[in-house]
Symmetry: C2
Subunit: 598 residues, 2 copies
């Protein structure tokens, strides 16, 4: 199957749903329509021609660990070299560290396209982004000087080393150690698991950011520090000078993402692993959240990308495979299965979820940029709260939907979907991790109902409810039958979201158990409404543009049709979800476990 | 992980949800509580000790094709020998062909337990059941004499050969040929794909039921005949006398179910494949529906079984894995993740889906038995219509839920779930086929809104709506707060189902496209309501039994809690689904395909 980066949809989402135009000028004086187009077109070429062809091979011929060294899938080295040469990694980093100073939103579009092309290749680059942001945030001048330029250019890559067997979602159990050597360096020791691209052969050095405990560290998360541990030592002049005592000692055999080496990392097996403190002692978790917040949005976008790929494959199959005939027609040639309403329902569902999750993530990215670079204080403040609110939704809703979309992609293929050769199954297997890593989707939901909802007394959530109401009103005013329908559904769904929000805020005063029991359906409901808001906005823009000279009416009518489908099938879930949100802790009471078996 | 057949839940479902007691006496004079208990206990021992231990190995070391012969996974031969010796295959077949004359419902319980233990092993036995039913229905006396005893005992196995590359969901394109030889036999030629257990080494002979066309056959499905083609020729005295010209020429590499050989079968490559006509010329599809209807319920039950396995594994992990603490608790030992409300929500969801799908399938099985064996004409007629109505729901709803449950099982494990070694991923990969084969779930939905709903002008569906109302009234009368809540939710969901049903029946007079566009959400809605009905019934029985002497109050309160959870989270979906059902064909209009890409 030929993959094509959905440049046009990406652009439509940026411009007509996510408010990307708000970033032009100000902190991004060079940003323009033409520049954005040029970047997306180039990105499309790179992804379509260089990265996408590697996807299937990376599943069949995944990363391997041989003699202590990880060898990546065929073609990864060359594709990564082109990634570095193309300057893709440096797109959104500040110019003073070698970046191109463009909005992070464009880097998010890059993550989207790259993950659609080959998720297991793309994920390696994402970790580097997190490392750069963390070093920018917490690094000393020396650390910045030594490590940032090469990480920004992508000549070196970064990793995140958090998890240990007993310390996963709860990092308070981290046991890795750091002993000060008196010269400003630390001896690091311990084992870390699930380290994405912990070792590989696509770059000359790997900069590991490692959570560990100092000898005097308090227990729990208040005693975790972060260390910068290079795979190869870097001399003061920036040259490489011999291996550090860190190695991949195992690779996980995973359900998917075979091209991404998931390493067990051993630090200091010979007692000679040297690192430097990154940020303050015992404040490692603060850094981690810098890395993690950026990664959470990126993981949401991974979901968008892999879902897009699954959708494109299913659509292509449905347009080619012939089975059956129209209702009532008994003979004559069989028709493409795309002609069957039930198959189209699957494709519409997939497309609707891809578009909605892309819009949520892009809007999240725009709010990230505005929160940092908007000229107006009030805009920065408001955008910051939107960014924080949307991050768990981007991560969890998009990746839950990626599971749905890629599973539907298998379904559209019928029996062929279950056969690996077809490729649909790979997308489903690859996608499945995204709902788990960077904080499981359950943890995202808890973040939403906890820090995000209660942190500001519900202000950000309420503001979003108002935005949804305004969008419903605008859609109603647009006056077309489809938009009126969308408006009505959005309005009801927004009422339901508000009811959930009010209930949770009340419950929070009473008992956090009630809040936590409703976290997951609340996140789903929020995502459904947010998706509905952005798709309605896009549909309004499409309906308006349809009347303009030279408009591509067919393309634009597709945006309206998808918004309507989303309203009929996803916004209508919202009312029922309020009942699930507000059932309270009693509804998942802690029964005797034996009761739940038989 | 130790697997335990859920004997107690199976029994509870039979007795208190599915109406199994209605089968005692009458056509099953020997059936009694004690006999049922003895059978389920024995079944549990066989599945727990013999079959379940093979599951993981069958994934890692699946079936292989070597020198034209399929070798099954380690242990399959011995486990199958014990299956035959235990008489498991013959449980529900008539005594005059060597069966035990017990209700099919018990065979369905067998399918449940066997698939929970090892789905890829279990599926081989299911196909034999279909072959026996088809030969019973359509075979000549000679065919019955020669083939039935060995198939009933399980000494030989059966297959279903429908699919060819160009003929999947639509069999009108079948091209395999049958040439009459003038001696009552036929030369068969052609290739079939996706043939489950098309070849293997667990039994001495394989009886293939093959769809093919006679030379004078009309085009389309009206020209398809069915042939009985043994792997090894059977002499008139029943002895084996040399290989027929049929062989497995390929094995599919699948996403899961690696232990089940999915064969490409070549018939008559040397022009010497001999078979006999099964049933009437050109009426092969009629036979196929006999085989298929039995298989559809069995596939639904496969979903129940594999979901049960996924649930048990996740529960065990959640009771053991420690991460985090209760809200507000900052230090002290970490708690089992089962203690977290959000994790319990996942486990409750899984358990609720397992119980609801089991109840639907068992109720379907009881209606199958009553339709054939009830003494009262009216009961037989009514049961037949319930059986037909429930079959597509059993198949599709249960297998959709199996996908949900096994995916949640991965999620409960966090990162460990994505690592194959844990075993959770296998259940998800194995389960994924069940929504596809024996008629995709989309085809089940079309069957529901077509033959099942319109075939009797909505009578069966309306009768079910009345049953749901009666159950809601009874739950309300039970007077406990939980049951009142369940009753209210069930009542509203039933209204929604009735509204969908009425709309579809009206739409059918107007335009089948409108009906077909709503098929899938209608099936989901119907399954949600049916699950709610049976769980409410079980909860009522549990609430009543709780007051009795010696009652296991903890176990019984679990039934109430699950029914309530299902009501809060699944019955509440029903109202929104009506909006999806009734959106009409326009909501999935046939856009220019180019519109849906970008």
């Amino acid at each position: 199957m030929t993959f094509a980066t959905p440049v046009r949809d990406m652009r439509f989402t940026l411009d007509h749903m996510a408010g990307f135009g708000g970033l032009e000028g100000g902190a991004f004086p060079e940003l323009s329509d033409d520049l954005t187009s040029a970047i997306l077109e180039e990105l499309g070429k790179y992804c379509d021609n260089v990265v996408a062809p590697l996807n299937w091979g990376s599943d069949q011929d995944g990363a391997v660990l041989e003699n202590g060294v990880v060898r990546t899938s065929p073609g990864f080295q060359d594709a990564y070299r082109q990634y570095v040469e193309g300057g893709w990694g440096s797109l959104a980093f500040p110019e003073d560290v070698g970046g191109q100073g463009l909005p992070s939103t464009l880097a998010v579009a890059l993550v989207d396209a790259l993950n659609a092309a080959c998720m297991s290749f793309a994920i390696g680059t994402t970790l580097t982004t997190g490392a750069v942001k963390t070093i920018l945030h917490a690094g000393t001048d020396e650390q910045k000087r030594l490590y940032l330029p090469k990480l920004v250019s992508g000549e070196w890559t970064g990793t995140m080393n958090l998890t240990e067997p007993q310390a996963g979602s709860d990092l308070s159990g981290v046991r890795a150690k750091a002993e000060p050597q008196g010269d400003g360096t630390y001896k690091i020791s311990g084992q870390k698991i699930y380290i994405t691209y912990g070792d590989h052969d696509i770059a000359d050095n790997i900069i590991h950011l490692v959570l560990a405990r100092l000898p005097d560290a308090p227990e729990g998360t208040a005693g975790i520090s972060m260390f910068l541990v290079p795979k190869v030592h870097v001399a003061a002049d920036g040259s490489l000078e011999g291996r550090n005592d860190v190695a991949a000692v195992g690779l996980e055999e995973k359900m998917g993402l075979h091209g991404s080496p998931t390493c067990v990392m051993a630090y200091g097996e010979r007692g000679e692993c040297v690192g430097t403190l990154l940020g303050q002692e015992h404040k490692g978790l603060k850094n981690m959240f810098v890395m993690m917040n950026s990664a959470r949005l990126d993981v949401g976008v991974q979901g968008v990308g892999v879902a897009e790929r699954g959708y494109q494959r299913a659509l292509a199959y449905a347009l080619e495979r012939r089975q059956g005939r129209a209702p009532g027609v008994k003979s004559g040639p069989q028709v493409e299965i795309f002609k069957h309403a039930d198959v189209r329902r699957m494709l519409y569902s997939m497309k609707a979820m891809v578009e909605a999750s892309r819009a949520i993530c892009y809007a999240n990215a725009v709010s990230y940029d505005l929160a940092r670079y908007a000229a107006d204080d009030a805009v920065r403040t408001r955008s910051k709260s939107v960014e924080e609110l949307l991050t768990p939704i981007s991560k969890a809703w998009s990746t839950d939907r990626a599971n749905d979309v890629t599973s539907l992609g298998v379904q559209v293929h019928g029996g062929m979907g279950y056969v690996e050769e077809t490729g649909a199954a790979q997308h489903m297997r690859d996608a499945r991790i995204a709902a788990i890593y960077e904080g499981t989707n359950g943890i995202q939901a808890i973040d939403l109902v906890g820090r995000k909802l209660q942190g500001d007394g519900g202000a950000a959530a309420k503001a979003f409810v108002e935005e949804a109401r305004a969008e419903a009103a605008a859609a109603k005013d647009a006056g077309t039958p489809e938009l009126s329908l969308v408006a009505a559904r959005l309005s009801r769904a927004t009422d339901a979201l508000e009811a959930s929000t009010d209930w949770l805020l009340e419950a929070a005063k009473r008992d956090q158990h009630d809040v936590l029991a409703g976290a997951t359906p609340y996140l789903k409901q929020f995502g459904n409404v947010a998706g509905g808001v952005y798709l309605a906005r896009g549909a309004r823009a499409a309906a308006k543009a349809m009347g303009e000279a030279g408009a591509d009416a067919a393309y634009l009518s597709g945006k309206v049709a998808i918004a309507r489908f989303f309203a009929d099938n996803f916004l209508t879930e919202a009312a029922g979800l309020t009942e699930a949100v507000t059932a309270g802790a009693d509804a998942v009471q802690e029964l005797d476990p034996a009761v739940l078996t038989a």
